[in-house]
Every structure is written in C-alpha cells, then in structure tokens.
C-alpha cells in the first residue's frame, strides 16, 4: 500500500518514529508512520494499538489502513487516516469559556467511552493528542501507551515511573502504581486539560500555583491553580477539577456515567 502513496511532506520526526503526510490514489491524504522496534515490549505495544484502531471504526479515532512489520530490519510501518484539523494545542482559542470547554469534554468522553468500555485506558491524553476536526469533533490519537486492563501489563513493576507524559500524568502513573490504573487515570488528564483551556496555563505550573516545585512535583502534592491574576475561578470548572484532580482515584468521579452526568449539566 505504501508504494501506492506519494509522500508530500514530513510532519514529525522523533526518537521512536517518523511521520509523513502522503497521498493515496483512492483514499486521499494519509499519514505514514515508520519506526524502529526497539524491544519486545515496544513491538507488543504497537501491535496492541494497531489491533485496537483497526476495530474501533469511529470518528473519534483515526482509521487504520495498513500495518507491516519487517522482522529482519526490526521496523514497522503504519498507514492511517490523515486527520484534517488542528491539534487542540493550536486550537485553544476555540475553547475558552466553560460552556465550550464542557462541550469539548462531552465529545471527548463520548469518544473515550468506546475504549473504556473495552477496559482500555488511554494514559496519554494531552492537547497534542487531540485533533480538532473542522466540524469541532475531537479525534483522539496515539494509543501507543494505552493500558489494556484485560491483558498482561507491559510495564516493568520495578520502573519508578510508568509510561506517560509526566505533566499530564495522574499520580498513580508517576509512581507506577499499576494496580490503580483505570479510567479514573484518564479523568485526571481531562481535569488538567479542562483547567488548562480555561486558564490558558498549565494548572500545576509553579508560576501559577505560587511555589518553586516542578509541575510533576505539584501533581504529586496535589497543588494546582484554579485562577490566575487575570482569570477568576469558575465554580463549574472548580467542581470538575475537584472531582478529577485528586491524588486518590476514589476521590475522583467513579465512572464515566457519573463524569458524563456532571458534564451534561453545563453544556
């Protein structure tokens, strides 16, 4: 399939993989991901992500067209939908008032419910991994470190930190407490994203919390800002933060039904 594609440009290049925008004669624009398989664990993670995306078939996730592993070269290739739109990181201005934020959260939760119902936790929700399509529908990308609760864990128990983007990670990810990973882990990231959209800054940023710790240390100590010098507290977002940004999962929304009914009050 890749041979049929015409590479248009490189979109991203990291230590793990390169991503190109390409044109397929029948499908149209696609994304080609190529990368090295560095270990059995990374191979297993890629396989799980590919298998999951191939069965999801939802506008909230990119469609997968092709997956290939070159055993000799220890490389993989994936062809998936090119998601038209912009990452949430670049679309924050669309989501500044609480109603817009809760409307986005509602859509995100609808999308995430699809994987939560399969006992899968995304574990890497952040503005860079949410593409806002032109019609406003979010598309959730990069399930590379998703935790499949029904399958054997791939993270070593002795690792001090579990797989995550630290500044969007829940405390149980930062302490690699694997037994605590469940949808409430994703609720924590949604809490950060919601407050970040409202405040325009990361809520655990020490500059706004008023201390000299790092963002990660503030997450671990549960210290976050609900307002800034220019933006006042909003009761609805304070309520959302208080039920998502808690250190102990039992102090967060218990399940997505409760989360949903809270969000539904404000859209």
């Amino acid at each position: 399939m890749i041979r049929e594609c015409k590479i248009i440009k490189e979109i991203a290049k990291g230590g793990q993989k390169t991503v190109h925008l390409a044109e397929h004669p029948e499908i149209g624009p696609v994304v080609i991901k190529r990368g090295a398989i560095k270990s059995f664990t990374s191979l297993e993670r890629i396989k799980r992500e590919v298998e999951l995306l191939s069965e999801l078939k939802s506008e909230f996730y990119p469609q997968q067209y092709h997956f290939y592993i070159d055993v000799k070269l220890k490389e993989f290739e994936i062809v998936e939908d090119y998601i038209e739109g912009y990452p949430l990181r670049e679309s924050v201005s669309q989501f500044r008032n609480p109603k817009e934020i809760f409307s986005l959260l509602n859509k995100l939760v609808n999308g995430l419910t699809i994987i939560w119902d399969k006992n899968i936790v995304h574990r890497d929700l952040k503005p860079e991994n949410i593409i806002i399509r032109p019609d406003g529908t979010p598309c959730i990308i990069d399930l590379g470190i998703a935790r499949f609760l029904d399958l054997e864990a791939l993270t070593k128990t002795i690792s001090p930190v579990g797989p995550c983007t630290p500044i969007y990670a829940a405390p149980e990810q930062l302490s690699n407490n694997k037994s605590l990973i469940d949808p409430r882990t994703d609720f924590f990231a949604l809490g950060i994203i919601a407050l970040e959209l409202y405040l325009g800054v990361h809520p655990f940023d020490p500059a706004y919390v008023g201390n000299e710790f790092s963002i990660v240390e503030n997450i671990l100590q549960n210290k976050y800002a609900l307002n800034t010098e220019t933006i006042e507290k909003n009761d609805k977002l304070v309520g959302f933060a208080n039920n998502t940004l808690q250190t102990q999962p039992y102090n967060r929304f218990r399940n997505y039904q409760i989360l949903n009914s809270f969000i539904a009050k404000y859209i």
Binding site: P249, Y250, R254, I258
Partner: protein, 387 residues
C-alpha cells in the same frame, strides 16, 4: 434507610417478624439454612433480601454450607487456594446461578477472610471472584444489581495506606452497584467505645456514598444508629450477639473455646443500650416506674411478668429488639443534618436517664451508657468534617 434481618441460628424468629412487617428484607446465611430449604422458601421472603455467600474460609464446611452448589469442596475434595486458578469461573457461575434461582433483590460477590490479608489479596479477589462473577452476569444479561462483599478489618480503617488501597479497589469496579460491608469487630466490650474506629467507619461510608455507591452494612448492633448519620442504604438487625458483631469464629467448623451462655439482655430505645436482665430485676424493686424506660411491644407484657424466666435463648427479647430498633431506625429524619441533631438529642436524653437510674442502682460498663459520650463526640467530629 432499609433494615435487613441478619439471619443465622433461629432464623425462624427473623422470618416471623419480617412477615409481620418488621424489617425490609432478609440476609440469608448458608451455614444456617440448607440450600434446598432456602430454594423452597416463599419468594416474598427472598425478593427483598440477598444471600451472604459465606465463602470466607473457602473450604470450611460449617453447618449446611456444603449443601450449596458453589461450595468449593463440592467442586473438588480438599479444595485449596491454588485450585481457584482452574475453578474460579465455574465457582462464580454456580454462585450467580444459585442466587438467580432464588430471585433475591441483589447478586452478592463473595469474599474471603484472612487473619492478615496477603499483599496479593485485592488482585486475587478481583481475579477469582469479582471479574468472573461480573463477566457471567454481563454475559447472561442479568439485570439485578451486584453488591461486592467486603470485610473491613480494623487496620483498613486506621492505616491510611491500607484505607486508600481498599477504597481504590472497591470504587475501581465499574459494574457493581454497591457494597455489602462487614466491619470486623475485635472489641471485647459489647458496645464499641473507640472514638477513632467509629469516626473512621463514618468516613469510610461517606467516601463510598460520595462515589454514588449503595452501602449496605452487615452485622451491625446499636451503633447502626450512629452509622446512620453517614447515610448508608441499609443496616442490619440480628438476634444473637454473633449476628450483631462480625467474628470469623462463627464460620469455623470447630470453634476453639466452649460456648459460654451470655446473660439475657433487653434493648431500650430510650437508653440506646441493651440492659442485662439482672439489672432489670434490680430496677424493678428499686425504681417505681422502671418499666417506662423500656419500649412497649407485643413481647413486653410477657417479659415483665413476675414469673418470666429470662434466658438468652428465648425469642422475646430479640423479637422485641427487632420491633423497637426497626421503628427507631425508621423514625430517623431523612436529611443528614436533621438526623445528626436528632441523634445528639437522643444521646443526651439517654445519658440523663442513666443518671437517674444510677441514683438507685449501679450498672456495669456493658449495661451503662459509657459508649454514649464517645458516640456524641464522634458525631461532633464527623459533623465538623462535613462543614
């Protein structure tokens, strides 16, 4: 708030009272009622109650427990923990099927008892009981609500790390509607007088209610009144002491020490206490209106006759308790704030009556009101946290 009968030995008393409108349902005890007999009971006795599966000790065939199809010893003789690896799915299916055949109100997931919970306890409980049980219910599209039974050990209340662990575990199960909580009681006194313990129980219940879970408290004694301020969904009434205080000894095949018959006691909703009958005899000769300290019920006239032979195995004091305590619980205000005010008033009133009584007779610390100041202080501390 519902009131369930915690049945056990002499469950006939509970059923008789339930049929007279005392209690909202029955919690059935497999070690005390044969499996076929339970299946044959009238549906009205079962449809508002549930089964306590009692797999606490896995393979200890106390009483009639081995008549139940899900009893592990029926799957394999000398069943041990490693056998769960191969039998947990079958065991869960049999347990669900049996509960469905009885058409109980809830389906209850069993739990195991350990003196000291191993570090793998919660992971094993999920793998061996919760997951196969919920999967089977989901697969069969059974619509009944699922309760997870949990024995809460004292350390799970007092140690923050353990408390977090158990609360995260309970609330992490997405398919359960609530919990059937059993607080292990290792106290030597008949009433619980430990401030920290009681306050931690209230906090524990509150966390689960904040998580929108149904909370059903098993094996409660009169402290159920105190627990009511955390707004649980139900509490229990039981006859003998071992049905109002959970100890694993009741489920062991051979009890270690010989049974010592306790003195008969009578509950007073005015005193918020069970009074030893010997003190009632003393009150009778020293306090003219002594009978007014005790509630009226259809059993009272008989018990207050001069020739009544008090004995702990007689039904009247227990049936009196079922009636009086049920009415007392049902008369509690609905709102938390009002309930707290009401209970504090009741405690002050009870303490005042005790003072009057003690002008005439002295009571030991299992019949006096010495638990009530602790209750009062616990309520104040909990109330402060609510504000």
């Amino acid at each position: 708030m519902n009131v369930y009968h915690q049945t056990g030995f002499r469950d006939k008393w509970n059923m008789e009272c339930f049929q007279k409108g005392i209690g909202d349902g029955l919690i059935f005890s497999p070690i005390n009622i044969d499996s076929d007999k339970l299946l044959g009971l009238n549906g009205t006795l079962k449809e508002t109650g549930f089964l306590d599966p009692q797999l606490y000790l896995l393979n200890e065939a106390k009483g009639t427990l081995d008549s139940y199809p899900y009893f592990p010893g029926n799957l394999k003789p000398d069943f041990t923990t490693p056998d769960l690896d191969n039998s947990h799915i079958q065991l869960a299916q049999l347990c669900v099927d049996y509960q469905m055949a009885n058409n109980f109100q809830y389906l209850v997931i069993p739990t195991r008892y350990y003196t000291d919970n191993p570090t793998s306890y919660f992971a094993q409980s999920s793998d061996y009981f919760v997951t196969p049980f919920c999967d089977f219910v989901k697969y069969n599209k059974f619509k009944k609500k699922i309760l997870l039974s949990v024995i809460v050990k004292t350390i799970m209340l007092s140690d923050e790390e353990k408390r977090n662990e158990v609360l995260n575990w309970i609330t992490g199960h997405q398919h359960i509607a609530g919990v059937y909580l059993i607080f292990e009681n290792n106290f030597a006194s008949k009433q619980i007088k430990d401030f920290d313990y009681l306050l931690n129980v209230l906090r524990f219940i509150k966390v689960l209610k904040d998580n929108h879970m149904e909370v059903h408290l098993g094996y409660t004694n009169t402290e159920a009144l105190l627990y009511s301020i955390a707004l649980p969904d139900s509490i229990t009434i039981g006859s003998y002491e071992n049905l109002r205080s959970f100890g694993i000894k009741r489920f062991r095949d051979l009890e270690n020490s010989p049974m010592r018959s306790p003195n008969a006691r009578l509950y007073s909703s005015n005193l918020l206490q069970w009074i030893d009958y010997e003190y009632i005899q003393a009150m009778k000769s020293l306090i003219p209106d002594y009978a007014n300290y005790f509630d009226d019920s259809e059993y009272k006239p008989l018990m207050f006759k001069p020739d009544f032979k008090w004995h702990f195995a007689k039904p009247e004091p227990y049936k009196h308790y079922f009636t009086v305590f049920y009415e007392q619980i049902k008369s509690l205000p609905i709102s938390q704030e009002d309930r707290i005010i009401d209970l504090k008033g009741k405690i002050k009133n009870a303490l005042s009556i005790f003072k009057t009584i003690e002008n005439y007779i002295l009571l030991d610390d299992d019949s006096d009101g010495s638990h009530l100041p602790t209750w009062f202080n616990v309520i104040n501390a909990f109330q402060k946290e609510l504000n």
